[in-house]
C-alpha cells in the first residue's frame, strides 16, 4: 500500500499546485481574467510543470545512475576486502550481494557476501535519501521560481503547450526506445553467449541438445558446449513447420480472398469476412490446445491407418494448425489488395471476352501480386515467430529432418524450454535462448522489411 499512498500524496500536491497557480493568476488581475495573457488554468498547469520538470529529471537520473552509484560506493566502502579477488570473482560477489540485499538471495551467504550485502543496503538507502532530497528540493525550487514568474502578461500557455508536445514526442520516441531495448538486450546477451560458444558452431552446427551442456565455466567447458549448440536443426524444424503452414494458408487464404472479393454477394461477404477474422482473434493458446489434443492424435491415427509411423508430435499437426491460424492474415490482406485493383481493368478484360476466372488469373492477380506477396511474407514472419502452437504440439528434441511425420522442434519452442523455470543467468544454456531470440528477431525483421520494400517498390499507381 505504501507506493499507492505516495502516489495519492503526490497527486494531492500536484492538485494543490495547480489550484495555487490558478488562484495566484486570478488574484493578480483582481478577478478580471480577460486581463491575463493566458487563461488561469494554464497558469496552474505552468506552476505544476515548474515543480515537476526538475523533480522528474532528478528521478530519471536516479533510475539510470542510481544502481551504478550504489555499486561504486559499495566497492569503495569494502576497500581492501575486495583486493585479493580478480574482476570476474568481484562481479559474481557483488551480484549475489545485491540479490541478498534485495531479499532475493538464495542459500546461505558467505561472510564477505553478507558484508557486501550490508554495504549494499546502507549505501542503497544513502543514495535513496540523496536523490529523494535532490528531487524534493528541485520541486520546491521549481515551484518557487514558477510562483514568482506568474504575472498578468506571463505567457503561460506556450510553455505548457510546449511541455505537452514534448511529452507527446517522448511517447512516440518510446517506440524507438523499445526497439533499441530489444536489440540491445538480445545483442548483449548473445555476445556473452558467443564468448562461450563460437558463432560458427552455433550457426552451422548439426547437433542441438543444450540440456546436456554442463554449466561449468572455464576452459574445458568450451569445447564440450560448442558441440551441443548447433542451431541448424532447430532452424530447419522452424522452416519445415512454417513451410507446411504456408502450403495450407497460401492457397486457402488467397482463394478465400478471391472468392470474397470477386464472387461473394454483399450479404454473404458481410457474414463470411468477420467469420474469417474470428480465426485471427482466437488466442494462439487455443490453437495450441486444439493441435495437441485433437489434431495431433488424428494425424497419427490417419498415418497409422495407411501404414505410416507418425510421431505424436509430428511437424504436420503443428504446421496444419498454424496454417489455419495464418489463413486470415493472408486472406484479409489479399482481399483488401484485390479490391484495390481498379474496376476498369476487370471491365477491359471482360470486354475482350475473358471469363471471370480468366480475368482474375490473368489481369487482377498480376496487378495485385506485389501486395499478395507481401501479405504472404508477413504471414511467413508470423508463422516463424508463433510460439504457443508449437510449444504445445511440436517436439522438444531437435531432429534434422524434412519428414513432416517426425517430431521437430522450433526456435520459439527452444526459447520457452530454456527460459521457463529457474535459471542460472550466466550459463551457456540460458544465454543460448537469447542467441536464438536474436536469430528469430533478425529473420522476422528481414521478412517484414522485405514485405514493406516489395509493396513500396512495385506499388501500381492507378489514379
Amino acid at each position: 500500500m505504501a507506493p499507492l499512498f505516495v502516489l495519492v500524496v503526490l497527486l494531492l500536491v500536484g492538485l494543490a499546485l495547480v489550484l495555487a497557480g490558478r488562484a495566484r493568476a486570478v488574484a493578480l488581475v483582481g478577478g478580471d481574467t480577460t486581463a491575463l495573457a493566458s487563461r488561469p488554468a494554464y497558469h496552474g498547469a505552468f506552476l505544476l510543470l515548474a515543480a515537476l520538470v526538475p523533480a522528474a529529471s532528478v528521478l530519471i537520473v536516479w533510475a539510470m545512475a542510481g544502481p551504478v552509484l550504489t555499486g561504486w560506493l559499495v566497492v569503495a566502502s569494502l576497500g581492501e576486502a575486495l583486493a585479493p579477488l580478480d574482476a570476474a570473482e568481484r562481479g559474481v560477489l557483488l551480484a549475489s550481494a545485491s540479490e541478498f540485499a534485495a531479499g532475493r538471495g538464495f542459500g546461505t551467504p558467505s561472510p564477505l557476501v553478507e558484508n557486501a550485502a550490508m554495504a549494499y543496503r546502507s549505501m542503497g538507502s544513502a543514495v535513496h535519501w540523496l536523490f529523494g532530497f535532490l528531487a524534493t528540493s528541485g520541486a520546491v525550487a521549481g515551484a518557487l521560481w514558477g510562483w514568482r514568474k506568474i504575472a498578468p502578461r506571463w505567457p503561460a500557455r506556450p510553455y505548457v503547450e510546449r511541455a505537452i508536445i514534448t511529452l507527446l514526442g517522448a511517447a512516440a520516441g518510446l517506440a524507438i526506445l523499445t526497439t533499441l531495448a530489444i536489440i540491445f538486450s538480445l545483442v548483449l546477451e548473445s555476445i556473452r553467449f558467443f564468448q562461450l560458444v563460437s558463432p560458427i558452431d552455433f550457426l552451422f552446427g548439426l547437433h542441438w541438445s543444450p540440456q546436456s551442456a554442463y554449466a561449468g565455466v572455464g576452459g574445458e567447458a568450451g569445447t564440450r558446449t560448442g558441440e551441443v549448440f548447433g542451431a541448424l536443426p532447430v532452424l530447419a524444424g522452424t522452416l519445415l513447420i512454417t513451410a507446411i503452414a504456408i502450403a495450407i494458408a497460401a492457397p486457402v487464404g488467397l482463394l478465400s480472398a478471391i472468392y470474397l472479393s470477386e464472387y461473394a454477394s454483399d450479404p454473404a461477404r458481410a457474414i463470411l469476412k468477420p467469420v474469417l477474422e474470428i480465426l485471427a482473434g482466437i488466442p494462439t493458446i487455443v490453437y495450441g490446445f486444439f493441435a495437441a489434443l485433437s489434431v495431433a492424435p488424428f494425424v497419427r491415427q490417419m498415418g497409422e491407418a495407411v501404414g505410416l509411423s507418425v510421431s505424436s508430435q509430428s511437424a504436420l499437426a503443428a504446421g496444419l494448425v498454424m496454417g489455419v491460424m495464418i489463413i486470415p492474415f493472408v486472406s484479409s490482406l489479399s482481399d483488401d489488395i484485390i479490391r484495390a485493383v481498379p474496376q476498369t481493368l476487370r471491365d477491359a478484360s471482360a470486354a475482350l471476352g475473358a471469363t471471370r476466372s480468366e480475368t482474375i488469373v490473368k489481369t487482377v492477380l498480376p496487378a495485385a501480386m506485389p501486395g499478395v506477396v507481401s501479405a504472404l511474407l508477413l504471414a511467413i514472419s508470423r508463422a516463424i515467430g508463433e510460439t504457443m502452437i508449437v510449444v504445445m504440439a511440436a517436439g522438444l528434441a531437435a531432429n534434422l529432418t524434412l519428414n513432416p511425420f517426425e517430431a521437430v522442434t522450433t526456435v520459439t519452442v527452444q526459447i520457452v524450454t530454456l527460459l521457463v523455470g529457474d535459471q542460472a543467468f550466466d550459463s551457456a544454456k540460458t544465454l543460448s535462448a537469447f542467441a536464438l531470440g536474436l536469430m528469430l528477431f533478425t529473420i522476422t525483421l528481414m521478412f517484414n522489411i522485405l514485405a514493406l520494400k516489395i509493396v513500396t517498390k512495385y506499388r501500381q499507381n492507378y489514379d
Binding site: V252, I278, L279, F434
Partner: protein, 519 residues
C-alpha cells in the same frame, strides 16, 4: 454479304465443334475456379466450427461437479471453542463409512475414502465456519469418481439378460446357475476375449437382485466370483430382464477407479447422496494440484491486474505518440523512421517482448518475477504499436475542415487537437484499443518468459503479488497428466473466449454508436 463463306463463319462461330468444346472447357474452368474459392472459405469456416465445437464439448463436463451430501457429525466443532481446530478429516471419513458399514479393513476403507476429494475436509470446514448453524453440507468427489459419473472414465457396456438366472452365495463368494446359453455366451466372450490374466481381463459385473457379482472364474459353465455388493437375502432367482451384465473393457489395473469403487459410487448415486451441481469451485478458487479443487479465479484476477496496467500505460502513450506523429511531427526522415519502426514493432514476434522483459525489466531493473505489473508492462509494449496505428488511422479520418475551423477562431494547435480532433477520433481509437487489449488478454508466450507460469495457489491481492494469467493457466493445465485437468483447461479456454467475445462485442458497439452519431 457477297462473300458467302464469311457469312457462314459468322453464323457458325459458336456452333463449330472445336469452338463449342473450347467454350465448354473455359466455362468448366470457370466453375471449377469458383468451386475452389467456395471450398477454401468452407474449409476455414469448417475448421473454425470444428475448433470451437471440440472445445465446447470438452469444456462442458468441467462446469459441473459431483458433490456428496453425507450426514456429517459436526458436534465436535460445534462444541469446540475454536471450530478451526476440529478434526474434519475424521468427520468426513466417518460420514462416508456410516454409509458403508460392511466395508472393513484398512485397504478397503482407504479405497472408499478415495472416492471423495482429498480436500473434502477443508471444503467442509470452510462451509461450516461460514454458517455453523447450517445443514445439508456437501463435499466434492475426487476427480476420477467425478469423471466416472460423467461417463468419461471406465466406460462400460451393459447387456440386459435374456434368460433367467439363479444365484448362490457362500460367504463372500457367489455363483450364477442355470444361466441360458445366450447370456452365458455374452459372459464367456467378455471373459475370454482379451488375454486371460486376472489383472488384464475386462471386468464383468453381474447386477442381480440389488447385488453385484464380479466374475472371477468360469468353471463348468458356472460363472462365479466375489460379491462386491450383497444381493437380497430373500429368494435366489431372477427373471429375464431383471438382471444385467456390465462389462468394463478396460481392465481394473489400468483404471484409476476400481470395480469396488464403481459399485459404491453407483449406490451413492442411486440413493441420491451424490448429485452433480454447478462447479462453483472452478469459478472461485485459485490453482491446485487436485483437479477438483482447481479454479480459474486466481488467473482471472491476475489477467485483470495485468490488463489494468497494460491499459493505463498503452492507452495514453499510444494515443500521445499517434497525436505527435500525426499532428505535430514535421514530415521528414526522422518521422518516417519512427513510422517504419512502429510498423516493424507491430510485427515483432510476441516472445521477443518476453525476452525483453526478462533481460531488461527483471534482470537490469530487478522488478518482481511473476508479478502482474511486470506482465502488464510487457503486454503494454506489445500492444503499443497496435494502438498507435489505430489511433493514427482514426486521427487521419477526422476531416481537415475541423482543424481549420478551430484554428480560424483562434485555438492553438494543441487546443485544436485536444478540444476538437481527438473527441471526434475517440470512438475509433477506443475500438482499436479494445481490440489491442483483447489480443493482450489472449497472449501467453511473453508472460512465460517473465515467470508468470509459476504455480500459485493464492488469489493475487495486488499488482506485485505473484500471479498467473488465464492463457498461462490453460497452458499449465493442458500439460498436467490428470484427465480432469484437460477438461478444466478447455473450460478455461471457453471462459477466455467469452471474455474476448465480450471485448470484441464492446468494440463493435462503440463503432456502431459512432457511425450512427456521424450520419
Amino acid at each position: 454479304m457477297t462473300d458467302a463463306r464469311n457469312g457462314d463463319d459468322f453464323a457458325t462461330i459458336h456452333t463449330r465443334p472445336a469452338a463449342r468444346k473450347r467454350l465448354a472447357r473455359r466455362y468448366r474452368a470457370e466453375r471449377r475456379f469458383r468451386f475452389f474459392g467456395a471450398a477454401a472459405i468452407f474449409l476455414s469456416v469448417g475448421f473454425l466450427a470444428l475448433l470451437l465445437g471440440s472445445i465446447v464439448l470438452k469444456a462442458l463436463p468441467a462446469f459441473t461437479h459431483n458433490f456428496a451430501a453425507l450426514e456429517f457429525d459436526l458436534s465436535a466443532p460445534l462444541e469446540a471453542s475454536d471450530p478451526a481446530t476440529a478434526d474434519y478429516d475424521a468427520i468426513v471419513r466417518n460420514a462416508l463409512r456410516d454409509r458403508f458399514p460392511e466395508v472393513a479393513g484398512r485397504t478397503l476403507r482407504r479405497e472408499l475414502s478415495a472416492l471423495l476429494s482429498s480436500a473434502a475436509p477443508v471444503y467442509l470446514a470452510r462451509q461450516f465456519q461460514a454458517r455453523p448453524a447450517g445443514t445439508g453440507f456437501t463435499v466434492p468427489l475426487s476427480d476420477t469418481a467425478d469423471l466416472y459419473l460423467k461417463g468419461l472414465l471406465a466406460r462400460s457396456r451393459t447387456i440386459v439378460a435374456t434368460g433367467p438366472a439363479k444365484w448362490t452365495t457362500s460367504g463372500e463368494r457367489g455363483a450364477l446357475e442355470t444361466v441360458t446359453a445366450p447370456d452365458l455366451r455374452a459372459i464367456e466372450n467378455a471373459f475370454t476375449g482379451q488375454g486371460g490374466q486376472d489383472g488384464q481381463r475386462p471386468s464383468i459385473l453381474i447386477e442381480i437382485a440389488g447385488g453385484v457379482l464380479k466374475i472371477g472364474q468360469l468353471d463348468a459353465n458356472i460363472p462365479g466370483g466375489v460379491w462386491l455388493a450383497r444381493p437380497r437375502e430373500t429368494g435366489n432367482a431372477a427373471e429375464p430382464g431383471q438382471w444385467r451384465i456390465r462389462i468394463f473393457d478396460t481392465p481394473q489395473a489400468k483404471r484409476k477407479l476400481s470395480d469396488r469403487q464403481i459399485v459404491w459410487l453407483d449406490r451413492l448415486v442411486a440413493n441420491g447422496t451424490v448429485r452433480p451441481a454447478l462447479n462453483t469451485i472452478f469459478f472461485t478458487r485459485g490453482a491446485s494440484r487436485e483437479p477438483e479443487m482447481a479454479g480459474i479465479w486466481g488467473a482471472v484476477v491476475g489477467s485483470a491486474l495485468a490488463l489494468v496496467v497494460t491499459l493505463a500505460l498503452a492507452f495514453p502513450l499510444g494515443v500521445g505518440a499517434a497525436i505527435y506523429m500525426h499532428e505535430f511531427a514535421r514530415p521528414g526522415r526522422w518521422s518516417r523512421f519512427v513510422e517504419v519502426n512502429i510498423n516493424n514493432l507491430a510485427a515483432v514476434p510476441s516472445i521477443i517482448f518476453g525476452l525483453l522483459g526478462l533481460a531488461v525489466l527483471l534482470n537490469v531493473f530487478g522488478l518482481h518475477r511473476s508479478a502482474p505489473y511486470v506482465g502488464g508492462i510487457v503486454l503494454a509494449l506489445m500492444t503499443l504499436p497496435t494502438i498507435i496505428i489505430a489511433a493514427r488511422v482514426a486521427l487521419g479520418a477526422v476531416p481537415g475542415s475541423i482543424r481549420q475551423a478551430a484554428l480560424a477562431v483562434g485555438a492553438s494547435p494543441l487546443q485544436t487537437v485536444f478540444h476538437h480532433v481527438l473527441p471526434r477520433a475517440m470512438p475509433a481509437i477506443m475500438t482499436g484499443t479494445i481490440i489491442g487489449m483483447a489480443r493482450a488478454l489472449g497472449e501467453t508466450a511473453p508472460l512465460l518468459m517473465i515467470g508468470m507460469v509459476a504455480f500459485i495457489v493464492d488469489i493475487p491481492g495486488g499488482f506485485a503479488d505473484p500471479a498467473t494469467v488465464l492463457p498461462v493457466q490453460i497452458f499449465m493445465w493442458a500439460d498436467f497428466p490428470e484427465a480432469a485437468f484437460g477438461y478444466r483447461s478447455a473450460a478455461a479456454i471457453l471462459v477466455l473466449l467469452v471474455f474476448l467475445l465480450a471485448m470484441n462485442g464492446a468494440a463493435l458497439l462503440v463503432r456502431a454508436r459512432f457511425e450512427r452519431a456521424r450520419s
